[in-house]
């Protein structure tokens, strides 16, 4: 009895912090999502209407929400695998016994992660500039016509993906590199004695050994990618023709630009439901493959 009492006291600070900064705001937001809270309601609560599931229903009839969802899925489906492959590739290269100047490259490849996005965006805007950009200059060497990276609705999202992969792959690279260093070298020695090729070693030793870490990395990357906001915010402001407007960006505009906090809260819960489902699926798939 006394012991459990002491236990509660020990966890109380954490519980109170969670209640104040997590449970209460989330519950408030959930309640808000069933109302049409906006600036009129801010002026006078008599202007607040309880609308039930109308905010959610209206979302399904808002073309911009679907556009935002589509844009987000585009970014996730292309961006997550690209990002993980880039991280894995870089980690394998850094881990290779043939690599020189490891510490230097490790720092250099990690540098984009810790660089301020706003500074990066300015440089990238010039790299991607349709007339003076370095990227188009290089493409011209191959006879490719200049591409209006951030102005053409078809190219804006690929440009954002490129930037995002470059900016973020270093983080996963460090995690994967640590996991690689934990794989026992005896396994590789044994494989070499058995005459396994480098490809076989990668497929049958490295990847299975990395599986738990890869799962973790993919869950985290996926969750991060669903919440894409900062990159389009600084690069394109959601344009051109709303092709880089993501669900989170949509929510930000609803809530903080137009102050429709009711429908913005609804967007937040829809996004949460989607991410929750996708993560569950990921874990299910991982458990299934593990069991096999």
């Amino acid at each position: 009895m006394k012991r459990s009492y002491a236990g509660w006291i020990f966890v109380a600070p954490a519980l109170i912090a969670m209640a104040v900064f997590f449970v209460v705001p989330v519950a408030t937001a959930l309640a808000m999502s069933f109302t049409d809270f906006d600036i009129y309601a801010l002026a006078d609560l008599a202007n607040l209407r309880f609308v039930g599931f109308d905010n959610y229903g209206r979302l399904l009839h808002t073309p911009l929400f679907w556009q935002a969802l589509l844009n987000t899925l585009y970014f996730v489906v292309l961006g997550v695998p690209l990002s993980i492959v880039a991280s894995l590739g870089a980690a394998l290269l850094l881990h290779s016994p043939l690599a020189r100047l490891k510490a230097f490259y490790r720092t250099a490849l990690f540098a984009p992660v810790v660089t301020t996005l706003v500074a990066v965006a300015i440089v990238w805007r010039y790299l991607l500039h349709p007339r003076y950009g370095w990227l188009n200059y290089m493409l011209a060497a191959f006879g490719i016509d200049p591409i209006d990276w951030l102005g053409d609705p078809h190219w804006a999202m690929p440009a954002i993906i490129l930037l995002s992969v470059w900016k973020n792959f270093g983080y996963n690279m460090i995690i994967l590199l640590a996991a690689l260093q934990a794989v026992p070298t005896e396994l590789y020695e044994a494989a070499r004695i058995d005459g396994a090729s480098a490809w076989r070693q990668l497929r049958d030793i490295t990847l299975p050994a990395l599986a738990p870490v890869l799962l973790l990395v993919s869950v985290l990357t996926m969750a991060g990618h669903f919440q894409l906001f900062a990159e389009p915010y600084v690069m394109t402001q959601g344009g051109p023709a709303q092709r880089t407007l993501t669900v989170l960006y949509f929510m930000y505009e609803e809530g903080f630009k137009w102050w429709s906090l009711g429908s913005a809260s609804a967007v937040a819960f829809v996004l949460f439901a989607i991410m929750f489902t996708v993560t569950l699926l990921q874990l299910r798939v991982a458990r299934y493959t593990e069991a096999r």
């Binding site: 705001p25 600036i39 009129y40 309601a41 801010l42 008599a46 344009g239 051109p240 137009w258 906090l261």
Partner: protein
Amino acid sequence: MACRIREPSADRKRRALLRAAVGAAAPALTAGCARERDATVRFWAMGREGEVVGELLRELERNAGIRVRVEQLPWSAAHEKLLTAFAGDTTPDLCQLGNTWLPELVALGALEPLGARVRGSSIDAGDYFAGIWDTNTAAGDLYGVPWYIDTRLLFYRPDLLAQAGYAAPPRSWDEWQRMLEALKETVGRDRYAILLPLNEFEPLVALSLQQDEPLLRDGDRWGNFRSEGFRRALRFYLSMFERGFAPAASNNQIANVWNEFGRGYFSFYISGPWNIGEFKRRLPAALQSAWMTAPLPGPRGPGASIAGGSSLVVFRRSRNKDAAWRVVEYLAQPAVQRRFHALTGNLPPRRTTWDDPALKRDPYARAFFDQLERVRPAPKVPEWERIANEMRVMVERVVHGDVAAESAPAELDARADRILEKRRWILDRRAGR
């Protein structure tokens, strides 16, 4: 006629509850602004104005014994900060406010009516440009005193225009169109006659305000974008993209508007007074005689433009209203406005202030003086900025081929009507009471 919602005192308790709710959603944003009880006037000012206004007020502080504490806000965070301050009951005494935000704060009941104070003061309403003064009125009272003005007109390159065979800037749409055609022919495929950034709604709004029909109808309850006037403005605006006069670009792709203007990438640019200073500073000396300003052409001769700018407002919850009002009165004096202009380049809203030789001699400011007699306020509803943004998005989508030009007005009406739904509900309910 924007609506203003009064706050019955029986609602106090509910307000407190509400504040707790909003406070939970947006924590700590206003934590640093504890209310002060002494006679210091808390004055929120934005951007460059916030940097220099302290200097302007020093004389007043010395002579009148009023202490003013200027708190600077960045423009990008100002709107959010104002609404959070209102929810958290930490609004300042005095604030600089973009006049497009005024209807919103009036609807919140956050602002002190100033009509009676103006009538008993040295401020002469008739001396102000009528369109600008009008943006500060709502529901039959006055809620702000214009501080400086902002409108949009033509910046152009006389040298390139001369090459195309024209000695003077256009006054009507027809003339303008002919010049754009000739310019496009002279500058060729890789350069353009005009820049209309796809991420700005002001140029289209300005052209729409030149029409006889209002942009919203029936007491600003519904969109009026299917009107012949708006259709005409939209057609004219879109034709500049269709015919290749304007690049389908936002400011992002232009990267440096001033450089490109200097290089002649475009010859016309619709912009505001702050760019007078920017072009003076950023263009090389050799190009200083190669740019000029001109009033915005209209459908039939010189046309109207947007009545923008910042006003000074006093908050209803202020306990220092008299002192705050004295600051407003002081800043409205022509002599002080001249010093303000010298410090910032901001254009003054009073005709008397324009008698200043420095302003009179400035050839770039002359077109603004002319334009200011023809400025019109945009619809004064809290939802306007959102609707204007829908106008911008629609243009962008038509230019990129996502929407057919013919269906744009109906689509815009549908969106505006949806945005205005709450407003209609509130007005109907009040009428029924």
